[in-house]
């Protein structure tokens, strides 16, 4: 079995397991490539018709392309779409300029999600988090508990339930489930290519720039890139990863060399 199919199978198994155990769940969809891949797995898991809601947290600051894409595919794929917004804060003008970025994210994203979970009584949320995204995410579990305050104690996590094939739970407030935790950024793009998943045009280069990750417009910066197709992106990613790694390793060796030369009076 090839690598991508193995990752897909794992994800589908987790999704079905989550639905079977928790019943009242939702999948978070940010319209980015990761959560769209997760959505694709959900559709495959249930033969095209996802039996639970798809939740979009709308801060009101998303790119217009995001809203267009969301509405088109929600209809095309027959999704039970719930758009969650912190209406009160959006109306009062909350934004990254008004408060801090953290405050804005907390109010418009975290609190919007909290409210949606409370309103619908979701026992678990599926998210498209990947372990290779960020240092802290490397500590995530596939089944990850959150307490009533949405707090995650990464230093004191319970054992990973997924690999034990037992997903019985205690009375936590809700669970976060990460079916694509084991996919890397490159895996996701290769999967997108293989499945021909439609991807939002923000990822494609326009005038020498494209977005490597998408979210709210004021806080997203594009990168210099000429990659227009998924193939281009995969090639760019492969070369960037190689040269990034090589660059960092070279810096370390250079620093070591300078220190050695300095100790002998050469610098």
């Amino acid at each position: 079995m090839d690598h991508l199919t193995a990752l897909e199978n794992k994800s589908i198994f987790i999704i079905r397991e989550a639905y079977y155990r928790f019943r009242n769940i939702a999948v978070l969809w940010s319209i980015g490539k990761d959560s769209t891949t997760l959505l694709w797995h959900c559709r495959k898991a249930f033969f095209g018709k996802i039996p639970f809601p798809v939740l979009h947290i709308d801060t009101g600051y998303k790119f217009p392309e995001i809203y267009r894409y969301r509405d088109r595919y929600a209809k095309e794929w027959g999704l039970d779409l719930i758009v969650a917004r912190n209406e009160e804060k959006i109306r009062s003008g909350m934004g990254p300029d008004k408060g801090s970025k953290l405050e804005c994210c907390t109010e418009l994203k975290t609190n919007a999600l909290k409210a949606a979970i409370a309103r619908h009584g979701f026992k678990a949320i599926l998210l498209g988090i990947r372990r290779d995204e960020h240092g802290i995410r490397a500590k995530e579990r596939v089944f990850s508990p959150r307490d009533g305050d949405f707090k995650w104690n990464y230093e004191d996590q319970p054992a990973e339930l997924w690999d034990n094939y037992k997903s019985t739970t205690h009375e936590e407030d809700h669970y976060r489930i990460h079916p694509i935790l084991h996919m890397t950024e490159l895996d996701v793009w290769n999967y997108v290519k293989r499945e021909e998943i439609p991807i939002i045009e923000l990822y494609s280069s326009k005038e020498g720039k494209r977005y490597r990750s998408i979210g709210c417009q004021p806080c997203c910066s594009p990168i210099e890139s000429r990659a227009r197709t998924v193939d281009d992106i995969i090639e760019e990613l492969t070369t960037t990863k190689t040269s990034e790694r090589a660059g960092r390793a070279q810096d370390k060796e250079d620093a070591y060399t300078m220190q050695k030369l300095r100790s002998l009076g050469y610098m």
Binding site: E253, D254, T257, M258, L261, L264, G265
Partner: protein, 455 residues
């Protein structure tokens, strides 16, 4: 690995490299009876000869000249550091930057397309690949796959990446091998540093003897670099009986003498006396009287303008006509070569002449002239990479240690280093029967070795 068919001659070569060991000091110690094994070797048909190192005489350049048998114009290594083409950004050349094939690449048939005048002379004479054991030669990091075994010398940031094959690395780890001692502690923790030197030497001995006995080889090169470290910090203890480290110096050299003696005996036994045996160094050493900061002098004389808000060589500012890099290489800040270059090609010769005149007139505070010789790059270097080299190289009189850092504002200073490299006092112990002509140069040795291995 294919073993060369035995042709009735034990055409093997053993080279023991002793980094920075001067001809004069070695002769002195032999005469004083400190080195009985070396004396015994000299008494049975070997000569201790003076040898010229490369110019400049830094280890990276000199060892590369040894291992390729050609000048920097062919091998491309002019010092420990270079500037990225078209910029003032520093880079540190490594083994991948050596443009000529090494001895072991020539005999092992792993030159990978690299060519040189030496390779042209001997390449065809290598009828089937020969195996080499190469231990601790500077400028061989990172390691590449060779016909044999290699562990890199200075600078070796990562021993695994500096060793081929993995089994060699596994062995070195198992004995606690030390690629290089921690020179940063030499001044603050003198006794700890000395202890570390002896310990590192012991590990070298162990590694040399292990690979000597357990590997198939035609060429064995083992380099001891601890001598260079000892000399940089404590060379004033080499001859001065009143110096607190004089006794330590002699003990250290006695240990080296034992290593040489043991390997020599085994080698002669193995080759029935017919193997080629050499010891050699990449440069000599003398005591430092004064450090001379070349860039400070160039600033004072108006050749160099610095913007101290920038770092390292990026400090070189518009209006600079010349600057120096370690240890005494001088580059004209040409418009066609550097982003803030201010000298046109047409004016280059005039700037060189002016520089020569100013540099030759540097006198120490007591009036002694500092610069012994100045060479233009075109006089020293020939080959496809001659154009990459410095415009001028300076050699100083004994005692004046030329430095090319950019931090010092004073021309004359005194640092912590008590020993400096000398270009004309390297040594070579070789068979008296070897024809080596009048002036022996480090580049000559590779040809002698190849001649022996391919006859």
């Amino acid at each position: 690995m294919p073993r060369r068919a035995f042709n009735g001659r034990h055409a093997r070569a053993l080279v023991i490299g002793l980094d920075g060991v001067p001809h004069t000091l070695l002769q002195d110690y032999v005469d004083r009876g400190y080195l009985p094994e070396t004396k015994r070797i000299l008494d049975c048909g070997f000569a201790l000869r003076r040898m010229d190192a490369s110019i400049p005489d830094v280890s990276s350049t000199s060892w590369t000249s040894f291992m390729t048998g050609v000048n920097p114009g062919e091998h491309g290594i002019y010092g420990f550091m270079e500037l990225e083409p078209g910029s003032y950004e520093m880079r540190f050349p490594n083994s991948a930057d050596i443009m000529a094939p090494t001895l072991w690449e020539i005999i092992g048939r792993t030159s990978c397309g690299k060519r040189s005048t030496l390779c042209d002379r001997f390449g065809a004479a290598v009828d089937s690949p020969m195996r080499s054991v190469v231990l601790n030669i500077p400028q061989t990091y990172p390691a590449t796959a060779i016909n044999g075994v290699l562990t890199a010398g200075f600078v070796c940031p990562d021993l695994r990446k500096g060793t081929y094959p993995d089994s060699c690395y596994d062995y070195l780890m198992s004995i606690g091998y030390v690629p290089d001692v921690d020179s940063a502690r030499a001044v603050e923790d003198r006794d700890g540093f000395i202890e570390e030197l002896f310990m590192a030497l012991e590990k070298r001995r162990k590694a040399f003897e292990y690979f000597f006995e357990n590997e198939e080889w035609d060429l064995f090169i083992g380099v001891i670099t601890e001598t260079d470290r000892l000399h940089h910090f404590f060379f004033d203890g080499a001859r001065d009986a009143a110096h607190p480290l004089h006794g330590t110096f002699i003990s250290f050299y006695r240990k080296i003498d034992e290593i040489i003696g043991k390997l020599f005996n085994r080698f002669m036994e193995l080759t029935r006396g017919e193997g080629l045996f050499l010891t050699m160094s990449d440069h000599g050493f003398s005591v430092v009287e004064q450090t001379v900061n070349v860039n400070a002098y160039l600033s004072k004389e108006g050749f160099l303008k610095k913007d101290v808000t920038r770092r390292y060589f990026d400090m070189i500012d518009t209006g600079t006509r010349a600057f120096a890099m370690d240890p005494s290489r001088i580059y004209i800040n040409l418009e066609c070569r550097y982003p803030r270059g201010s000298v046109s090609e047409a004016d280059r010769t005039a700037v060189v002449e002016e520089l020569k005149e100013r540099l030759l007139s540097i006198n120490a505070p007591d009036g002694t002239p500092v610069i012994r010789a100045l060479y233009e790059g075109s006089e020293l270097y020939s080959g496809p990479h001659a154009g990459d080299g410095p415009d001028l190289v300076a050699l100083a009189h004994e005692g004046f240690d030329l430095k090319a850092g950019l931090q010092q504002d004073r021309v004359f200073s005194k640092g912590v280093f008590k020993g400096m490299h000398t270009q004309n006092d390297a040594h070579c112990i070789m068979s008296k029967g070897l024809e080596a002509g009048d002036g022996l140069h480090i580049e000559d040795l590779a040809g002698l070795i190849l001649d022996h291995l391919t006859t």
